[in-house]
Each structure stands twice: as C-alpha cells, then as structure tokens.
C-alpha cells in the first residue's frame, strides 16, 4: 500500500500539469499559433471515449463475461470507419450555424424549438449522471485500494461528510470551472481543454499498456502462458468462448444491440459531440481520425482479456474486485511505482470524461434550460439591461457543481450495487434516444418538431421504465415486485419482459422497446403533422448544407430591424468588443430583403447577429431574443418557398456572372500573352537587324577605308596596293556570302526554300564535303579522318543542302582546333531509325551555358578570332530539321566539341516541293 498523502499529492500534481498544458495551449491559441490544429491531436482527443469504464470496467467485464467487453469498442470503430460522412456533415452543419451542443443541434433543426432543446438537455442530464457517478466510483475505489493494506477492509461505513468521494467531486468541479469557464468569451472553442484531453489520452494508453506488459511478461511468461493456464482451468476456459456467461440464448441479438448502442452513443454522447464536432478545427482532420481512433481502441483493448485472466488466475477465488485488477496486480506484487502510474492513468481516463462531459452539459443546461426560463422574466427580455456574459458564466459554473454533486448522489445511493459497465450502459441507452431525431434531421426533410417531441418522450419513457427504474429497484431503493411481477400484478407490463417479450437481456430489451417507440412516434407523427415554416426552412438548411456556399445561403427572415437594437442585443450577450467586430465586418453581396433605409438592418445582418448569438446562448434562445428585439413578419410556408426560389435564382445569376468574369479574365490573359509574344518577336527582329547591320558594316569598313586610302595616296607602293586589293576582294566575298546566307535563312524560315530530295549515299556526301575542305586542313597541319561502319548509307535528302551542313560543321571545327596537333574526326553511325553523323574536334570546347545559344542567329563565341557570319549553325540546324532530323552539341570545356546531327530514314517525305531551278549560292564557309 501507498501512503494517502503521496497518492493525493501525485494526483494533484497531475491535475496541475493538465492545467499547465491547457494554459499553454490557450496562450498559443491567443497568439494565433494553435497547437491543436493537428489531425493527431484531434484523433487523440476523440479518444476521450475511453473512460474509467474502459480502463477499469473492461477488465472487470472480461473477468466475468470473457470477450463481451468488445462490442462497446467495435461500435465506435464501425461508426468511425463507416459513418465518418455522418460526422463530417455534423461538423459542417455545426460550423455553419454555430451550434454548440447536441441539444442545440436537434432543436435548431426542428425550428429552433426551445421545448426540444430543453427536453434533450433534460434527458442528457438524467442519462449522464450515472455515467459521471461511474467515474467517481472508479477513482474512489482505485484510491481506496491504493491506500489500504490488503487484509484491511476498505468498506468502513462513514457519514457522507467524511466521504472522500464527495470532496473528490467538489475538487473536480473546481478544476473543471477553471478549465472550461475561465473566459467570458464563451463561443470560442476550448483549445486548452482539447490539448489537455489529447494529453490524457496518451497517458491512459501508455499506463494501460505498461500494466498489460507487466502482467503478461512480468507475472507470466507471455500471452501464450496466460492463455495456456486459463485453458487448463475449466471455469476460465469458458471466458474464451463466444457464448459465455449464460448469453448463449440470445447471443447475436445482444452483440448487435451492444454494437448499435455503442455506435449511437459514440455519435451523440455530449462529450463526443463536443470534441468531435464543436471543437473540430478543420474538417480534414477527420480523415486522420478515421483510422487513428480505431487503432487507439485496438491498442487499449489489447491487454484487457490477458489482464482479466491473469487476475483470476493470480487471485483465485479470494474475492478481489476484477474491476481493479489493473491496480491490485502490481500492488500485490510490490510494484508500487507502477501501481501509482496506473492509478494516474485511470485518473486521466476518468477526469478526461468528466471534464468534457461537464463542460458540454453545463453549456446545454445554461443555454437550453436556464436561459429560456430567464428570458421569460421581464428583466432579461427587456431591451435594456447590461452585459450578461458574466451571468451566463455563473450559470455554467453552477451547473458544473450541481452536475457533479448529482453524480456523487447517484454514486452514494446506487453505486455499490452495480459494476462499472452496467452503469455506463444505462447512460448509453439514454443518449441513443437522440439518434432518430438527429440522424433523421440530417437526411430527411420530412421530420417535424411534433414528431421529435413525440419520439423523444416515448423513447425516454421506455428507457426510464425498462432500464432506469429496474436498476434503482435492484439497488434496493424500491421494491423489486414491479420488476418481477409487473405493476399492479399485470405480468404483461413487466418492465423487463414488456408485452411478454422475453428471450432478450434487459439492456437489449430496453433498447429495442425504447428505439422502437422513439422511431415509430417520430416517423408517424412527422408524417401526420405539417411542418411550420421555420421547421421547413431549417430542414432545408440542414439537409442541403453542402449544396450552398455561405454567401448564397437563403435568409429565412422578413421584417424590420433597427441596427441600434441589434447592436444592443449583441453587446449584452457577446460583450462590447465582439459586438463591435460583428457590426464592423459589414455583409458582402446584397441579399434578399435588403432595406435601403438608413439605420435598418437587412435580413442577412439580422441572420448574422442571430447566428453569433446562437453560439453564445444556443439557437433556440437566440431566436427568442432576436424576435423580441426586432419587428418580425410571420414567415409562411409560401414565404419559405419564395425565399428559397429567390436564393436559387440569385445563385444562378451569380454563377453566370462568375462564368462571364472568368471567361473575360481568360480572354485578357490570352491577349496579354499574345502581346508579350509580339513584343518578344519585335525584340528578336530588332536584334536580328542590329546583328545583320553589324555583319554588313564590318567588311564595308575595311573596303571603304582601304579604297579611300588608295585613292588619296597615289604614291602607294605597288605591293601595298596589291595587298589591300586582295583584302578588298576577300571582304567583298564575305559580304556576298552573308547576303546569300541571310536570304537563304529567310527563305527557309518562310518555307520558300527549294529542296531537291533524291536517293543518295550519305558516305558519298560526307566524302564530297571532306574532299573540298581537306586542303585547308592541310594548310593548318591538322588531321581530318572519316569513320564509317558501312560503305554506303542510303538516304532520301537534298545533296547540296547536306554538303552545306557538313561544310559548316567542318569549317567551324577547323576554326577552333589548335594550331598544333589539331584533329577532327567524322563518325557515321547507322541505326534502325536513321543515321547519325558526328563531327568531333579537339578545340577548347564550349561552356555548358553557351551550348544552347550557339544555334541562335548571329551568336558568336567570344574566343573566336576568326569569325563567321553567325548564321552557319542556325541554317544547318534548319536544314536538318527540315528532313525531320535534329542537331545538337555535346562538349566538355577543354576537351573539344562534338556536333552531331541525326537524319531519320523516312526523311524524304517532308520535302514534297517540285524540283525547280534555284539561284546559285555560296554554300560553304571557307572564310572566317
């Protein structure tokens, strides 16, 4: 055993840590850097589903019933995996209409009915109290076993004021008030709470896995050992079978009932709704939760059965409470530190549930029970009256305290009679009553307020009669006669065999009757009654929530509202700051019902105020408050239809407008692009002209200067004169070659060039070019070699053009090879698709950044002393491309350059021009 102060101190330290985490998360949220905006945090916080019930109760149930603890976890797993679209729709609806609780959700759908909101809240409170009692019971019995020595009995009778559980309940209430109701600003999310809950989920998982590993591997030799020993014992072996615990008769119906129950509870328990829907930061986080949450449930259930079996094997029949095996096993074996950690894990499971549940329920109680009553009094209904936010906060705090005290009361009165799991299931069955109204409301427009009231009342009545009353009776507070014999001795009214329905366990029986009555009444009455206008409009807004973007939501309101009145109203419930913001951000597109008069709000603004108020006081109360502050005209069903029609027309118009503006933008973009292209073409033309000018003027400069000097200087020696004349001739040749090339280029580019394609042999063409230039290579003492795999390479092309290409490449190579030991190799390779010719030199090579540019017109390499026109390579490339081939260069600076071109076999096809005479032109580039 551990000393009481140590356990209490550790527990308090843990709560302080939780509070620190929450505080830190709130700070971060205020700074705009939320730590809960993560799908992992979201998924972990959903694991608030696993409470003390899971932590302690599952083992207890497994110890009695074997694998019957499982359906409670299979239900949520299925709900998450199969039903995530439902959750997503709930999130979207709650986000759009600022819904803050499950009561608000249902009430808002059915015409913002205060009656429904109140009823749902009432059912919740009654149904949830046992569940909170369960958590108190778990912590208090956990604490008892931690602090009493094994022999000593912990069941010393004490009066209520000496009962530590009472103080536990009060301490928790204080803690929750700090947690959830610190801010005056109540509509915002509880970021700190979510962070703390996610942290608690981690702690309880780690603690449970730790004790599982300890029991299985520390006390036994692994899982196999536990099962082997259990199988050896006839009593325990039964636990491992499916049909255990006397359920054999109605095994399938009970599995089905439990799974369904857990599914519905998972969706509509106030704390699950709070965490999954209200606190959701981003719809997309749901995708991660869909698999993380089931994995979490799997992990936390992994060791349940082994621990249960181990506990039974270990303690035998000496009456240890199976609910507390996770604590008693480490305690008895002296692992006190582990036991303390496990206790903290259990504490985190219980506090997590109580915190979220109490915050959610207190919001519901405040908004849906207390507010409507307050609004009946003159003081609150009136248009005067100060800021009410502080009052709202007080109501919520009070609700938290009362809820926990009720939990304690239940624990005090009935707690000892039931195992943890049975208490929890009673709560589950109560919450399941919300399913027909909520699910029906999301997917069926036909449900009406009257139908929901009938359904809820019928379902709740059956729940009380068939489940709650018998449980109280069995606790000894009432005579069990009416359970055993039926009220007034009428056997057919027996609460656990209603109308003689037997063969079901009491839970399945109750679930069957309550849901049967609930759904029957809901559907029957809905079909029979006609929805009021507001119900019809809310039905449209809920069921079709995905169909409309926010701006095109129809506004179902007509009347006359002074902006001043609305402002006053908002200030009272939201505080001056938020109210100011609300009216500053004025609406976007003009909605229907806009009023031109100054000082009057249009329908959209009224609706915005109402939505914001709904976030603070619930949609039903918000409706009442807005209605009291403005002059409204009654909305008929016809009005709803008309507004809907207008809204959809508005949507059509605005969509058409959007389309038009998109296509205009598109046209503008295209025009701009075309303009850019023209501009860049213009620049290209400019550059081209400038380059041509340069290339023409350079030879002209020499020619003019030399001739002028010869003209001026009659006494010039003859040799000098001869030398100058030779230069003039060379420069003239260069000029005419340039003119020829420019024209050639222009013709090729314009597609007016003449092509004479014939069947020819490429080796012969290369040979011709090589022979005509070989002399110049010899002058420079350079080697020129031709390598070919085959003696003949037939191809369809224009002979003169290919000679021109080869001469260009060869004379370029000649220009760049070194004075000494220059070397050029021509290589021809044949392949299936065509022929590749490569001209490789051992010159200085070309830098990588220059390589793509050398095929541009008039681009010349800086290193070149001897210059060409700058058109040789572009023309060559054009020619090769004309025959469907391509030309490229590879080079490593310092190791020479390799110019290659590839000609496909089918090249002739692209040269269809008829043969015709063409002007003679210079085709090679002998001179630099």
């Amino acid at each position: 055993m551990l000393s009481a102060p140590l356990v209490i101190f550790t527990a308090f330290a843990y709560l302080v840590l939780l509070f620190a985490i929450a505080w830190y998360a709130d700070q971060r949220a205020a700074a705009g850097r939320s730590i809960i905006a993560s799908p992992w945090v979201y998924a972990l916080s959903i694991a608030v589903y696993a409470t003390a019930w899971t932590y302690f109760g599952s083992v207890g149930r497994a110890a009695v019933d074997g694998i019957w603890f499982l359906p409670i976890y299979l239900g949520p797993t299925l709900a998450m995996i199969l039903g995530w679209v439902v959750v997503r729709k709930m999130i979207r609806i709650a986000r759009t209409y600022r819904i803050t609780s499950v009561a608000d959700f249902i009430a808002s759908r059915y015409g913002k009915s205060p009656l429904i909101a109140g009823l749902v809240t009432l059912i919740t409170v009654v149904g949830i109290v046992p569940y909170i009692a369960l958590q108190l019971k778990a912590i208090s019995s956990g604490y008892a076993i931690m602090t009493t020595s094994p022999g000593e009995s912990s069941l010393v009778e004490v009066s209520w004021w000496q009962d530590s559980t009472l103080y536990l309940a009060l301490a928790l209430a204080g803690f929750i008030m700090l947690f959830g109701t610190r801010h005056l600003d109540m509509t915002e999310r509880h970021e700190g709470m979510v962070a703390a809950i996610a942290f608690e989920s981690l702690i309880k998982l780690v603690a449970f896995l730790a004790v599982g590993l300890f029991v299985v591997y520390g006390l036994f030799n692994g899982i196999g050992d536990v099962y082997a020993q259990a199988m050896a014992d006839a009593e325990l072996a039964k636990l491992l079978r499916f049909d255990t615990g006397g359920h054999a008769d109605y095994i399938f119906s009970q599995w089905f009932a439990l799974i369904l129950l857990a599914m519905l509870a998972f969706l509509f328990l106030p704390r699950q709704f709070q965490i999954m829907v209200v606190e959701n930061v981003d719809e997309r986080h749901l995708k991660r939760a869909v698999w993380v949450f089931p994995v979490y449930l799997l992990l936390i259930n992994l060791f349940v059965l082994p621990i249960a079996l181990a506990g039974l094997l270990f303690f035998g029949d000496n009456g240890a409470n199976p609910d507390l095996f996770v604590l008693s096993l480490p305690l008895v074996t002296g692992q006190e530190a582990l036991a303390l950690f496990v206790f903290i894990g259990g504490l985190s499971a219980a506090t997590g549930m109580v915190i979220v549940e109490a915050i959610a329920v207190s919001t519901m109680v405040c908004n849906d029970l207390v507010m409507p009553l307050l609004l009946r009094t003159r003081r609150f209904r009136g248009r005067q009256g100060g800021d009410l936010t502080r009052l709202l906060l007080m109501i919520r705090r009070l609700a938290i305290v009362i809820l926990l005290l009720l939990g304690y009361l239940y624990f005090y009165l009935a707690g000892e009679a039931y195992a943890l799991v049975s208490i929890g299931l009673i709560s589950f069955a109560a919450v399941a009553q919300f399913a027909p109204a909520a699910l029906g409301g999301m997917y069926w427009k036909g449900g009406t307020r009257a139908g929901v009231l009938a359904g809820l009342c019928a379902g709740f009545a059956f729940w009380i009669y068939t489940l709650m009353l018998p449980s109280i009776a069995k606790s000894g507070w009432m005579s069990t006669d009416f359970v055993d014999l039926g009220p007034f001795g009428l056997a057919w009214l027996k609460p656990e065999q209603f109308l003689g329905l037997s063969g079901l366990d009491n839970l399945t029986h109750s679930l069957f009757w309550s849901l049967f009555a609930n759904i029957g009444a809901f559907v029957g009455v809905s079909l029979w009654t006609r929805p009021a206008a507001r119900e019809a409009s809310q039905a449209l807004l809920f069921v079709d929530v995905y169909n409309r973007s926010h701006d095109h939501q129809p506004v179902f309101w007509q009347g006359r509202a002074r902006i001043e009145d609305l402002k006053l109203l908002a200030t009272r419930f939201l505080g001056p700051k938020r109210a100011e913001q609300l009216f500053e951000a004025r609406p976007g597109p003009p909605g229907q019902g806009a009023r031109p008069d100054r000082g009057y709000a249009d329908a959209r603004l009224v609706q915005r105020v109402e939505t914001q108020l709904a976030g603070a006081i619930g949609s039903a109360s918000a409706r009442v408050m807005v209605a009291s502050a403005v002059e409204e005209e009654d909305l008929g069903l016809e009005d709803v239809m008309r507004i809907l029609d207008e809204a959809s027309q508005l949507r059509v118009h605005s969509r058409a407008l959007e389309d038009k503006s998109r296509s205009l933008e598109q046209a503008t973009r295209e025009l701009r692009a075309a303009n850019e292209e023209l501009k860049s073409l213009d620049r290209l033309k400019d550059d081209f002209m400038s380059s041509v000018t340069h290339e023409l003027r350079t030879p002209l400069t020499s020619i003019r200067a030399l001739t002028e000097m010869m003209l001026d200087d009659e006494d010039m020696p003859n040799e000098q004169r001869q030398e100058f004349l030779a230069i003039i001739v060379t420069e003239t040749e260069r000029l005419s070659r340039l003119v020829g090339q420019v024209l050639d280029m222009a013709r090729i580019e314009a597609g007016h060039a003449d092509w004479h394609s014939t069947e020819l042999d490429l080796t012969e063409v290369v040979g011709q070019a090589v022979n005509s230039i070989r002399g110049r290579f010899e002058e420079k003492n350079a080697r020129l070699e031709v390598h070919t795999e085959r003696p003949s390479l037939p191809i369809l092309a224009d002979r003169d053009r290919l000679v021109q290409v080869m001469l260009n490449l060869l004379s370029n190579a000649l220009k760049f090879i070194p004075e000494d030991g220059g070397r050029v190799d021509v290589q021809m390779t044949d392949s299936e698709r065509g022929i590749t010719v490569t001209v490789a030199d051992n010159g200085p090579g070309i830098a990588p950044e220059e390589q793509p540019r050398i095929f541009e017109k008039f681009h010349q390499l800086d290193e070149g002393r001897q210059r060409g026109s700058g058109l040789g390579l572009p023309i060559s490339r054009q020619i090769v491309e004309h025959f469907g081939g391509r030309m490229w260069v590879e080079s490593t600076p310092g190791e020479g350059a390799r110019f290659s071109f590839f000609l496909p076999r089918t090249s002739g096809a692209s040269a269809p021009e008829p043969p015709s005479g063409r002007p003679a032109r210079e085709r090679n580039e002998h001179h630099g």
Binding site: S690, T693, H694, R697, T698, P699, L700, T701, S702, I703, R704, A705, L706, E708, M709, D712, D713, Q720, F724, I727, T730, E731, D862, E863, G864, R865, R867
Partner: protein
C-alpha cells in the same frame, strides 16, 4: 615626340587599314586584338588615344572604356569609340561611359584622321 595611338579591334582587316592610316598620319601605333589585351596595354604603355572597337571578344569596348575612366592614373587617355552597330542607344551608352568621341563604321578615313588630329591638338 609623336603621339602614341592604340588600335583595339578584333577584325584583322580593319586593324590593317587603321594601322596604315594612323602611321601615314605620323603617329606611333600599337595594336590590341581583344578587350583584355587592350586594357593591359593602356595601363602599361599609356597611349594618348585609343581607337576602341565597341564589340570585341573578352572585354567589350564599353567595359574597357569604363575601366579606363575608373582609373585616375589613366585620366589623360582619350578614347574614340568605333562601332558597327550604330544604334542610338549604343552611341549614348559610349558617351555615358566617358568616351571622348564616337565614330560609326564604315567611316570616312579623312574624317577619322581629322577627328584624331583635333583630339590630339593638331600635333602629330
């Protein structure tokens, strides 16, 4: 002592004609084939006037001009830019960079000789 002129151009035939022309005018002539060579020769030999082609491999004429003007020790060096491009922007660029005069190719030998004479103060 005659003035010293540096001819900086990468076109061999233009160099031949300029060299002949300037020698005939009685100047001492040196030749540079690209921008880098021209700049190092200006720094080393301190010519009185540079006939500087705008488009040369290595440093362009513009860059050489700018480098000379940035160097206070070379303040006495006059620069006559020659260009075959002749777009107004090129002329403006040369002037802005501190060239003393600008002549467009092809030029009249008489005009060029006249200009060089006037820049060097009528004194060959």
């Amino acid at each position: 002592m005659g003035s010293k002129i540096l001819i900086a151009d990468d076109e061999p035939n233009i160099v031949i004609s300029l060299e002949y022309l300037m020698r005939r005018e009685g100047y001492e002539v040196e030749v540079a084939r690209d921008g880098d060579e021209a700049l190092s020769m200006i720094q080393r030999d301190r010519p009185d006037l540079v006939l500087l082609d705008a488009m040369m491999p290595g440093k362009s004429g513009f860059e050489v001009c700018q480098a000379v003007r940035d160097d206070d020790r070379l303040a006495g060096t006059q620069i006559l830019m020659l260009t075959a491009k002749g777009r107004e922007t090129d002329v403006a660029k040369g002037k802005a960079l501190g060239a003393d005069a600008y002549i467009i190719k092809p030029f009249s030998t008489r005009e060029l000789a006249e200009k060089v004479r006037s820049m060097l103060g009528n004194e060959p």
